[in-house]
Symmetry: C2
Subunit: 124 residues, 2 copies
DNA sequence: CAACTATATCGACAAGTGTAGATTTATGAG
DNA sequence: CTCATAAATCTACACTTGTCGATATAGTTG
């Protein structure tokens, strides 16, 4: 399933919050960008039509939605295709960028080193 | 400057090849996807209009183009915004994915470790 | 030089995307 | 029970994107 940029942004809310109404989602979104309720609701409608979220309950007129797809099912392919598109599938240039251009703290580095240690053991 | 997915794909050619004509670009592209010359030429026209490439020379009727923007000027923001969109700006989940889901060779791991060593020294 | 052919140029179109106004309607408050 | 209001529903529109065909034209070749 392909999600547009904005759809993904809204979807993230549902991956964090189990239940969310359109007005609530709108409240969250406008913390970052200035859009009307209608706009957010349209995105929610499209997500529903795509089967990315589904109605889970209702309180008064207000409909609550919940994620109907796993975050990983969307993100994994997204990452792979991103690496492919931007780096021709090579991970090294990406690591390079990550380590050198993004602000890594010492903790981040330690975290990564630990990941690598684990990975090395698995490879044996 | 924002590039569409296909525009980026074509742009990659110009970052590898200093000079490229539309027919040549087309030849390259059809190695991966089945599109007509017209389609590729349209993308090239749009890239030119955007100022991403420019005409560098001409041989007969054939126009040669070259990149007018640096690869990094496009890729760096692309990576940052990707991390933000998909991981809320957190690099760790991305590292997690990279180390565990993408196929890393021992060499890749060694490479990354070296990167990290260097980085650590820089931080001192 | 005339015809052929490869390129360039131009216009077009459907689908997807971000955006939002207008309209309907179910509820909760009085 | 009526009414105000919030939420849902519906419709719309401009812009981007991928896609290409038709047409014009400049070189190349016999």
């Amino acid at each position: 399933m392909r999600l547009s940029e904005f759809e993904l942004e809204v979807m993230q809310l549902f991956w964090v919050c189990a239940q969310l109404s359109a007005p609530e989602a709108h409240q969250e979104i406008i913390k970052n960008k200035d859009v009307t309720y209608s706009t957010v609701k349209t995105i929610i409608d499209r997500l529903e039509k795509k089967g990315a979220i589904k109605r889970t309950s209702q309180k008064g007129r207000t409909i609550f939605y919940g994620a109907a797809i796993q975050s990983d099912d969307i993100k994994q392919p997204l990452i792979s295709s991103f690496i492919k598109k931007v780096f021709g599938g090579e991970t090294r240039p990406l690591f390079n960028h990550l380590v050198n251009e993004e602000k890594l703290s010492r903790d981040d580095i330690a975290y990564l080193e630990e990941l690598l240690e684990k990975k090395k053991k698995e490879l044996d």
